[in-house]
């Protein structure tokens, strides 16, 4: 296959919105949105890139100043617009760059996680983790495992 044909095939014609079909159909193209905090997780992900650690390319990263900036409605809007999975990552608790942001985030995102099955979205499609700037390996494992988990849910 020539390069242009490969690009044609990868176009978004396979993407169906999660609000309609993707809960039950298998889908080879998986889209994941990640909210990473600027001081720890974003640097960690960047380091993973510099060190050439192989990871699936399904993750699109949005940089926020702190995980406490993440409004639960961001995640719901991402699901509404067609994301298959959403990931939030910040500094470890007690090590937040702004001292307390991630404590508030932990509370809010836990409530959101328990609420998701009540509107028909699988709880496992959303996760929040703590990845620090030195943990590039952890970021790589996180992405690999999360994409695997989403593909497994999609294939059922």
């Amino acid at each position: 296959m020539s390069i242009s044909e490969k690009i044609e095939n990868k176009k978004d014609k396979n993407i169906k919105y999660i609000t309609k079909d993707t809960i039950s159909t298998g889908n080879s193209d998986v889209k994941i949105v990640a909210f990473l905090c600027n001081w720890c997780s974003y640097v960690g992900a960047d380091t993973a890139g510099t060190e050439r650690l192989r990871q699936p390319e399904n993750v699109r990263i949005i940089r926020v100043p702190c995980s406490g900036r993440v409004n639960p409605l961001f995640i719901l809007k991402a699901f509404d617009l067609g994301a298959n999975g959403v990931l939030v990552s910040g500094c470890h608790p007690n090590d937040c760059h702004y001292s307390e942001g991630n404590f508030y985030a932990r509370r809010r995102l836990e409530v959101l996680k328990e609420f998701l099955p009540f509107i028909g979205i699988d709880k496992r499609r959303f996760t929040y983790q703590w990845v620090s700037a030195a943990e590039a390996q952890k970021w790589q494992n996180l992405v690999i495992n999360f994409v695997k988990r989403i593909k497994e849910i999609n294939s059922k």
Binding site: K77, P93, F103, Y104, R106, E110, K113, F115, P117, I119
Partner: protein, 323 residues
């Protein structure tokens, strides 16, 4: 003297120190009551109080306290005082500015349940006494027992005799006698359904929504209704199209705006013209917050809202092990 007369007498005694009093009065529509705003003594005779008073008059607390220069009096049932407690603890109204006249109610009737049980026939007139409702339709007459048509929120009420806050308390003639149910029993039942069924349930319910915003405007805690983000262009959270997805997203905005603040008065569900079960969403979030942070909204003025505080070690949060 029965409860209604005692209430009128109490109002008569305190009306001079208040600028305006909000209470209940008769309505032209059977099985309904209307709010009334009293400013002088000769209007007191229009006040009523009975088992039909399901409206939550705390809706007017915020707007009146902004408009009126002086003290306001509100007649409330015990469950509605929770809204006032929540408003005071969030510093939206001043405790000195309102006088609360709390009546210990013996349950309220949900008129939608009554209408459903008659399979939609038009109700011409309805008379109510302590135990029965006498209803006349075009060609038939029914005698129903009040205790079969209580609103859902009465089944788990335990504060009708000791409200968390009051200035004057009027005791009821009849005690609330209803079979107690677990507060989150219907939520637990609903969660047993499969994800696909839950999803299609909500899609179907919201397909009828006309985005009239009655749910938002009648809520006592939604003081931001004139500046709501769902109607703004900057930031652009939502389109103005009237579709099922947009209606569902609007409800999710409301749910997270009221997480940990909703006192489950049920007004949003009552005001909805399409009978969407909105209270389910609010109760689910409240259930999670109660389990995770051991917090019930509306009971103590001094308590801090759970999502505005934190603990360094959270006992009830179990991390997601994925790495």
């Amino acid at each position: 003297m029965n409860m209604e007369d005692r209430l009128k007498e109490k109002i008569n005694n305190i009306i001079d120190e208040l600028k305006i009093i909000v209470g209940y009065t008769k309505s032209n529509i059977p099985l309904r009551v209307n709010p009334i705003f009293i400013e002088n003594k000769d209007e007191i005779k229009n006040l009523i109080f009975n088992n039909l008073c399901i409206n939550n008059l705390a809706t007017y607390a915020y707007t009146l306290s902004q408009e009126i220069d002086g003290k306001i009096g509100i007649i409330l049932k015990s469950c509605d005082t929770k809204s006032i407690v929540q408003l005071i603890s969030e510093e939206l109204i001043n405790r000195d500015k309102i006088k609360l006249i709390v009546v210990s109610c013996s349950g309220v009737i949900d008129y939608k349940k009554v209408k459903n049980s008659l399979s939609g026939a038009e109700i011409i007139s309805a008379k109510i006494d302590t135990e029965n409702i006498n209803i006349k339709t075009i060609d038939k007459s029914f005698n129903l027992k009040i205790k079969d048509f209580y609103s859902d929120k009465c089944y788990w009420c335990d504060i009708y005799e000791n409200p968390p806050i009051f200035d004057e308390f009027i005791e009821s003639d009849v005690k609330l006698s209803v079979e107690k149910k677990l507060k989150y029993e219907d939520i637990n039942e609903f969660e047993k359904l499969s994800l696909k069924e839950i999803f299609s349930f909500w899609q179907e319910e919201f397909s009828h929504c006309i985005r009239c915003y009655a749910c938002r405007n009648i809520c006592p805690l939604e003081v931001c209704k004139d500046r709501c983000i769902t109607q703004l262009e900057e930031p652009h959270w939502q389109t103005q199209k009237i579709t099922a997805n947009e209606a569902k997203f609007f409800q999710l905005i409301r749910v997270f705006h009221l997480a940990g603040r909703c006192v489950e008065c049920g007004e949003c569900q009552r005001a909805c013209p399409i009978n969407i079960p909105l209270l389910k969403l609010m109760k689910k979030v409240n259930k999670e917050i109660e389990r995770l942070f051991d917090y019930k909204p509306g009971l103590k003025i001094e308590s801090k809202p759970p999502l505005l505080t934190f603990k360094k070690i959270e006992e009830n949060i179990k991390e997601d092990k994925i790495v």
